[in-house]
Every structure is written in structure tokens, then in C-alpha cells.
């Protein structure tokens, strides 16, 4: 077990390193002279010099990469090109919003997706199963920001049940916090519910055909025990994979949801930075998001061992 974890950790380090190369290489992709591209033709020589220094453009490439990487390892992702505000701090100010959003959406997707998927699988071919298949296809194909817009139109303009924009800190009242997150979380979770429900259904349908499920039935176990204790545990393995992928998807999609609901999270920071071409801010955000995704996938990998002891060996 310890050896498995160590091996996975090593892979993780390599992966993050490769990603750091890709993220750093973004600066090199800037077409033409970065200063003109980023500042426009009307920049004053002082601005140009300041930018060259802040990006370290006059230093050798390897040195720049090393400085950026060693800084990142110590939690210093550089400073914003526009405001001289530290990137780490900008992210820290806003991460609470995104984490509340993504974690709530993940929990909702997993719970709802599993329940729907299991109910569809145990009555394979029934009306609920067919509805689930159709609904999950639509849920996967639906642009989630559009769902957000529809919800805003309906709940905001017509019913006024939930606030449709802005954020309230949990410290200023939990009720307000929940109300502000309600529609964004539903919006963000919809695709996840669809993907997890579809995978859970497919995987459980396959598992229910396996011999050991028949053995469990031949032992006289109740349907609840056959599905809940035996089939589901094996069926969960591909579902967990999809859940891991959801974390990456939710992180990306929260950009759109934050835009729709005007939430001050990492996503809106990213959008603003892209419009401003604030390269250090973008690099920091992408690197951080990737590290989160990679760590989650490591946890997913390790959970396989518990679900299927046979997998722990390999």
C-alpha cells in the first residue's frame, strides 16, 4: 500500500512539473514583442521597462522559469501586471467563493446522480430508466451557463425566490450565503448529475449481470443487500473515475457560472485577467486549479484499492 502511494505521488510530481512547464510556456507564445502585444502601441518607455522587469524578459529563459517555479513552490505566484497585487493573495481572497460553489455542486451531483443512476439500473428498461437516459443525454449536452440564464430569467424575473447575482459571506449570515449559492450550485451541478447518473446506471447494469450477484441472490439476500452491499461496491469503480473527472469539469465550468451569477470567485478573476492579459495571474490560477485536480485524482486512484482489493495489487 505504502509503495503504491509513493509511486502515485511520484507520478503526480512529474505531472505537475509537466503542467508547470506548459503554464510557464504561455509567456513564450505571446506573438511579437510581448510588451507591445500586452501594453499596446501607445505605451510609454517607462511602462515598457517596468513590464520587462516584472516579466523578467531580459533574463535567460531557464532562470526565469526557475525563479517562477521556486516562487510557486513557496506559495509565491508573482504579482499582477496591472495592480502589483500578489497573485497568491488575489486567489486567496476569492477561493472561498469558488470552493463553496464547487464542493456544494460536487456533493449535489454525487448524491443525486447516484440515487438516480441506481434507481434507473434496478428497473432497467422501465419508464424511469428511459427518462434517465434521455435526461442525462440532455444534461450532458446542455451548456450550463444557459441553464443558469434560464434559472435567472425564471426565478429572478418571474418568481424572485432566490437572489440571482452576487455573493454573501457565510460569516454574514448562513441563510443569506445558502440563498445566494442556491441557483449557482444547481446550475453547476446539473451536468455532473447527468454524467454521474449515466455512469452509475451503466456500471450497475453491467455489474448486476455478473455471476457474484447471482450468487448473492442464491444466498437468499434481499434486493437491497444484493444491490447495496454487493453490486454497488464493484459498480462504484468507474463511477468514482467519473466523479474525479467532475472535479476538473466543475472547476472549469465555475468560470461560466460565476460570470452568470456575478460571483466574485476564481472564475471571475480568471475572466478579468484574460481580458487584461494579466499573464502572472492567469498562470497562477491555471497552475493552482491543475494541482487541485491532480490531487483529487490521486485520492480517486487510492480509493480503488478499498473498493476492489484486487486492484490494490496492481
Amino acid at each position: 500500500m505504502i509503495r503504491t502511494v509513493a509511486a502515485r505521488l511520484a507520478t503526480l510530481v512529474v505531472l505537475v512539473w509537466v503542467v508547470s512547464l506548459a503554464v510557464f510556456a504561455l509567456v513564450l507564445l505571446i506573438p511579437g514583442d510581448p510588451t507591445t502585444t500586452l501594453l499596446g502601441d501607445n505605451a510609454t518607455p517607462e511602462q515598457v521597462t517596468a513590464l520587462r522587469t516584472s516579466l523578467g524578459l531580459d533574463d535567460p529563459l531557464l532562470m526565469r522559469y526557475w525563479r517562477w517555479l521556486s516562487g510557486a513552490l513557496q506559495g509565491d505566484l508573482g504579482t499582477s501586471m496591472l495592480s502589483s497585487y500578489p497573485v497568491t493573495q488575489a486567489i486567496g481572497d476569492r477561493i472561498g467563493v469558488t470552493v463553496s460553489l464547487v464542493v456544494s455542486a460536487l456533493v449535489l451531483s454525487v448524491v443525486l446522480g447516484l440515487v438516480i443512476g441506481v434507481l434507473a439500473a434496478v428497473r432497467q428498461g422501465g419508464w424511469f430508466d428511459r427518462l434517465t437516459l434521455l435526461g442525462s443525454s440532455i444534461g450532458i449536452a446542455m451548456p450550463n451557463f444557459w441553464l443558469g440564464l434560464v434559472l435567472v430569467t425564471f426565478f429572478g424575473a418571474e418568481l424572485g425566490l432566490f437572489p440571482t447575482s452576487g455573493y454573501a459571506r457565510p460569516g454574514d449570515g448562513v441563510g443569506d450565503w445558502v440563498a445566494h449559492l442556491m441557483l449557482p450550485v444547481v446550475t453547476l451541478a446539473a451536468g455532473g448529475v447527468a454524467e454521474i447518473a449515466r455512469q452509475a446506471r451503466a456500471s450497475l447494469v453491467d455489474t448486476l449481470r455478473l455471476d457474484f450477484v447471482r450468487t448473492a441472490a442464491a444466498k437468499g439476500l434481499s434486493p437491497l443487500s444484493i444491490v447495496g452491499k454487493h453490486a454497488l461496491r464493484t459498480a462504484m469503480i468507474p463511477v468514482i473515475t467519473v466523479m474525479g473527472l467532475q472535479v476538473s469539469r466543475l472547476f472549469g465550468m465555475s468560470v461560466l457560472v460565476e460570470a452568470v451569477f456575478a460571483l466574485p470567485g476564481i472564475g471571475s478573476l480568471m475572466v478579468a485577467s484574460v481580458f487584461d492579459r494579466d499573464i502572472p495571474m492567469i498562470q497562477g490560477t491555471v497552475l493552482l486549479a491543475t494541482v487541485v485536480v491532480v490531487v483529487v485524482n490521486l485520492l480517486v486512484d487510492l480509493s480503488y484499492g478499498w473498493l476492489n482489493p484486487k486492484a490494490a495489487l496492481t
Binding site: 457474484f212 447471482r214 437468499g220 439476500l221 434481499s222 454487493h230 473498493l307
Partner: protein
């Protein structure tokens, strides 16, 4: 004879795109306590469906269309065809145990073998966790798992095929069933391991006096363990007789052909039956074996053939027995 398990006129249908298709036609079988009935036939002859029907584990595509399956016990006779599902669950694993063909896939990979045996014990005998575990270890020891108290904690993938089949047998016997259904329990195993499992099943049957329904396509295995044999072909029982009589004086041309297919020392050439088993959507109206039978005549076609009494305990579904034997 007072049979513990008695199947009368069982009909099993499979749902197809063109409506239901009968795959088990009016099968009647009976097994007494301490007795072994060998059920033999090629794959697709309906022998596995017959056993699954006993436990009502046919799945969603097949169903029992008619017939009765009687289970005799101290508290009277139960008809398993009409028994409510909730009480059927007490029968499965409790009164009737089942051993499957594929030991490699019959166990849940996620739980230790001890847990899987103990689970059945807890379910039917109402023992607590500790007592159920103790009983599971005893059972694993009884079926010949070495150092069972330690091995009980291991997961199925740590065991060989033969050892896994022992675990499945321990599970099937954990609640002292009166009937054991064994569906090709040795087919997937090495020859030497086959022998050990057969011996074990024989011992267990004799110890506890359970009725054993043993399914196989292998006549050698059937000859080893059975007291009586029923031969199935295309969903019908075509011949049934005590084991010695069947092997010494087979009556049905199909049984005779099957026996010729068994490789024997001294003959260097393996006989095969010409033709193929008819599909269930295109069964002959008369004798189902007639298209492949060397003795077939006009009388074999046209109308269904009944089981004829050859001797008191010997029946065959053939109208030309006299000609066949001569």
C-alpha cells in the same frame, strides 16, 4: 419414494422479439434425501434453466410458465412456483443451496471469503457477527481450506479455482440445506481438482443426507457421483434411469450417441453426433432428436413423443426402442 425436491411438468419460457419461446418443456424430476440425480445434456438443452427455475433466479428475460416445484420439509410441502418472493428468499441459501459453474466469478471480489460465508449464516440462522464468523471458519475448514481461520480473512483473488469452489460449497452448505443444486461445479476446474471436489460433494451428501441435483455435460463425472440420471435434449427429458442401467442399457438413441462420444481406451477415434441441436424457434413437431437420429422413421415425426416406461425406474422418450436396441 418420498422425494425432497419434486419438479412436475415445469415449463420455462424466454421472451424474444417474436413472443415467448418455450425452452424447458414439461420437465419432471425428483430427488430424495441422500440421493444424487445427475442431469446431463449438451449446453442449451435446458438443464441450467431448470435448476435456476428451482430457485426462481431466471432473471428478467425468462420465466416459469407452468408446472410445480415441490419442496418437502418437516413443516409440509412448499410449491416454489407460487411461494411469495419474501419466503422464497428464506428458501434460497437456507433450505436449498446452490453451487455454480464458474468459481472464478461466483464470489464477490470486494469481500473476504469468511465474510461471504458468514453473511449467509447471519441471514438464515440469525447468528451474531462473532458466532457467524466462527461457523464460517468451521465450514471453510470442513470443505478442506487449509488453515481456514487465517485464510477466511483473504479475498477471493488470493484463492485458486478449486479453493474458490470449496468456498462456494461452504457457502451453499452453511445453513444445512436439504437440497443442493450443483450446476456444472467441476467443469471449469483441472481434472485432479475435479476429482477432489466430486469426492467432497459425495462426502457432504452422505454426512448430511441432502438431496443432490448434479448438472453436467460430462458423462464421466455423472457416472462418478449419480444414483440416477436424467438426460435432457432440446428442453425435454429424453431418458431417465438408475445410473448403472443407463450406462449398461441405454434406450434412447440420443443417450446411446452420447455414450459413443465418450472417449474410451482402445478406440482411437472419437464418435460425434451428426447435425446440430435444433433451435428453439424451429423445433420438430415430433421427436426432437429425429433429424439427427440414425433410426428415425416416419412414425417419429408428426406428433409429440411421450416418455415410455422401459422398466419400473427406467423411462425413455422414443417410439422405436425395440428397433433401436436390436
Amino acid at each position: 419414494m418420498n422425494a425432497v425436491l419434486e419438479i412436475n411438468d415445469l415449463v420455462v419460457e424466454v421472451a424474444t422479439a417474436h413472443g415467448p419461446m418455450v425452452v424447458v418443456s414439461n420437465v419432471s424430476l425428483a430427488v430424495g434425501a441422500g440421493e444424487t440425480l445427475g442431469l446431463v445434456g449438451e449446453s442449451g438443452s435446458g438443464k441450467s434453466l431448470t435448476t435456476l427455475a428451482v430457485l426462481r433466479l431466471l432473471g428478467t428475460s425468462a420465466r416459469i410458465a407452468s408446472g410445480e416445484i415441490l419442496l418437502r420439509g418437516p413443516d409440509g410441502v412448499l410449491d416454489l412456483v407460487t411461494l411469495p418472493e419474501r419466503r422464497m428468499r428464506d428458501v434460497r441459501g437456507g433450505r436449498i443451496g446452490m453451487v455454480f459453474q464458474e468459481p472464478m466469478t461466483a464470489l464477490d471480489p470486494a469481500y473476504s471469503v469468511g465474510e461471504q460465508v458468514a453473511e449467509t449464516v447471519r441471514r438464515h440462522l440469525g447468528l451474531g457477527r462473532t458466532d457467524a464468523w466462527k461457523r464460517a471458519v468451521e465450514l471453510l475448514d470442513r470443505v478442506g481450506i487449509p488453515s481456514a481461520d487465517r485464510r477466511a480473512h483473504d479475498h477471493p483473488h488470493h484463492f485458486s479455482g478449486g479453493m474458490r469452489q470449496r468456498v462456494v460449497i461452504a457457502m451453499a452448505l452453511s445453513c444445512d440445506p436439504v437440497v443442493l443444486l450443483a450446476d456444472e461445479p467441476t467443469t471449469a476446474l483441472d481434472v485432479t481438482v475435479q476429482e477432489q471436489i466430486l469426492t467432497l460433494l459425495g462426502e457432504l451428501r452422505d454426512e448430511s443426507g441432502l438431496a443432490l441435483l448434479f448438472i453436467s455435460h460430462d458423462l464421466g463425472v455423472i457416472a462418478d457421483i449419480s444414483d440416477r440420471v436424467a438426460v435432457m435434449y432440446a428442453g425435454q427429458v429424453v431418458e431417465t434411469a438408475p445410473v448403472h442401467e443407463l450406462f449398461a442399457a441405454p434406450r434412447h438413441p440420443y443417450t446411446r450417441a452420447l455414450l459413443r462420444c465418450v472417449p474410451s481406451p482402445g478406440s482411437d477415434r472419437l464418435a460425434t453426433i451428426p447435425g446440430t441441436v435444433p433451435t428453439f424457434d424451429a423445433l420438430p413437431l415430433g421427436c426432437r432428436f429425429a433429424p439427427r437420429c440414425e433410426h428415425a422413421a416416419a412414425v417419429c415425426e408428426g406428433a409429440p413423443i411421450g416418455l415410455d416406461t422401459v422398466a419400473a425406474t427406467h423411462f425413455a422418450r422414443c417410439v422405436r426402442i425395440e428397433e433401436v436396441v436390436s
